[in-house]
């Protein structure tokens, strides 16, 4: 028997609301199957089981807020049939003990409010519950604006902000970062992409972001040391390349779901997967594995107009790659000066796992692939 726990869906998550069970007691489940939906400050995420087995018992009722690590269900694993009865009963006993505090978990009723109203209320630090009694049906933006303004300090109460603060402080305190940067001439790659897109319908168009991800993945294959984890004093290199893509949420904050298994994807497939991932992120329909199995992070603040971004590594990952805005800039070629589309690519690496030389090798490879875009197809 094993306990299915509320997963940590990112270093910056403390708790989530179990919204719905997609299985019932007695159901057989397969590894990777989505069995529940949880709501976090970043939207609804579908969570999967990690083993084949049978749902023995559901421990938490829908719409209950649970801390990370809270047992949500008991699963009878397929491989466990040999387990002795005695062992099983002690496990059960300890589960009963640990699950007791759950009864105290406050059952929060979800208040109906428009997204704009929810955002405004959060900005102003207004509890929607205080308004719901005064409003008929869904709370609208105007209802929030009608509320008297509160002290600005209320912003401190934003759970997501606080959680990001904790995760990033830990990263900066624990990880000795090194930072490297290089300029990449993007004119050949962008010209090549423009020609490619001219022959395609609008639905099949490939964005420069997908090309940059593909080039990054290829470069990581050449420098695998940057794709993996640093845990308990050892450096683990991963075969699968699941880059976390930093996506800004319109309601504020940031989410970094993984594009899974890019090591086997063509450029076209990366574009489709990116499209799917961003669309599901916006709708709040991510899977738990996408929030837990990132092996490296790519941050692209380019659309906000900055030219260079130095990231903070998400532990236990060992690198974060920053891609800035592509700008027209002077570029020396031979003995002439030309104007080219230039990208500043950066990398922040964990110095416990790799040295600057590894990072430099990566940036060099990234540049190499972007000068030969036809090899990225």
């Amino acid at each position: 028997m094993s306990k299915f726990l509320m997963p940590s869906l990112g270093a910056d998550m403390e708790s989530a609301i179990l919204m719905e069970w997609l299985v019932k007691e007695g159901d057989e489940v397969k590894k990777g199957q989505v069995i529940a939906e949880v709501e976090t400050s970043k939207g609804v995420i579908e969570i999967e089981v990690f083993e084949d087995g049978t749902i023995e018992k559901l421990l938490v009722a829908p719409e209950t807020e649970c801390d990370v690590g809270t047992p949500l269900a008991l699963i009878h694993s397929v491989n466990e049939d040999e387990t002795s009865q005695e062992e099983e009963s002690t496990v059960l006993k300890s589960i009963v003990e640990t699950s007791k505090p759950e009864e105290k978990t406050v059952k929060k009723e979800r208040i109906k409010a428009s997204p704009a109203a929810r955002k405004k209320a959060q900005e102003l630090g207004i509890d929607l519950a205080t308004i719901s009694s005064k409003v008929d049906g869904t709370i609208q933006l105007k209802d929030i604006e009608a509320m008297p303004a509160k002290d600005e300090k209320m912003e401190d109460k934003d759970g997501m902000r606080r959680a990001i603060a904790a995760a990033m402080s830990r990263s900066n305190a624990e990880i000795p970062h090194y930072y490297l940067s290089t300029s990449i001439n993007m004119t050949p790659a962008l010209n090549w992409l423009e020609q490619l897109n001219a022959q395609r319908s609008i639905k099949d168009r490939i964005l420069p972001a997908a090309l940059l991800i593909k080039a990054t993945v290829n470069a990581l294959k050449s420098v695998p040391e940057l794709n993996g984890f640093y845990k308990d004093g050892s450096h683990i290199i991963k075969d699968e390349i699941n880059p976390a893509i930093a996506i800004a949420l319109r309601k504020g904050g940031l989410i970094t779901p993984a594009l899974m298994n890019t090591q086997v994807m063509s450029l076209e497939k990366i574009m489709q997967s990116l499209d799917d991932l961003i669309t599901r992120t916006r709708k709040g329909k991510l899977r738990g594995s996408e929030m837990m199995e990132q092996t490296v992070t790519i941050t692209n603040l380019g659309d906000l107009g900055v030219e260079r971004v130095y990231g903070v590594i998400y532990p236990p990952q060992v690198a974060i790659i920053g891609l800035g805005r592509i700008v027209d800039a002077p570029w020396a070629e031979g003995d002439t000066l030309a104007v080219r589309k230039v990208l500043q690519a950066t990398i922040a690496g964990d110095h416990r796992a790799t040295d600057g030389r590894t990072g430099a090798f990566f940036l060099d490879k990234l540049n190499y692939f972007l000068q030969k875009p036809e090899e990225l197809l």
Binding site: P115, K119, L141, I202, P208, A209, R250, L274, D303
Partner: protein, 80 residues
């Protein structure tokens, strides 16, 4: 289709991508991407949505002609 009808379709596409935006936030002559914080991915979604709704494709070389709400409406109106 009138310009007003096209405008309504464009606005509907924008609101679908960015539900937090209120219709009144969209200034007809301001750059859509920078004023509404629409990234290149969302911008492509809007153009794809417009193509589905009215059957006009905007090639990449014409992106500068559809930078504001007003320009976008005129662009589609001229090609209907």
């Amino acid at each position: 289709m009138t310009k007003e009808e096209i405008k309504n379709i464009v606005i509907q596409q924008i609101l679908e991508i960015a539900p937090d935006i209120e219709e009144g936030d969209i200034e007809p002559v301001e750059n859509l991407q920078s004023s509404l914080e629409i990234d290149s991915f969302d911008f492509l979604k809007i153009l794809t949505g417009m193509n589905e709704q009215i059957g006009v494709e905007v090639p990449e070389v014409d992106y500068y002609k559809v930078d504001t709400l007003e320009h976008m409406v005129n662009y589609f109106f001229d090609r209907m």
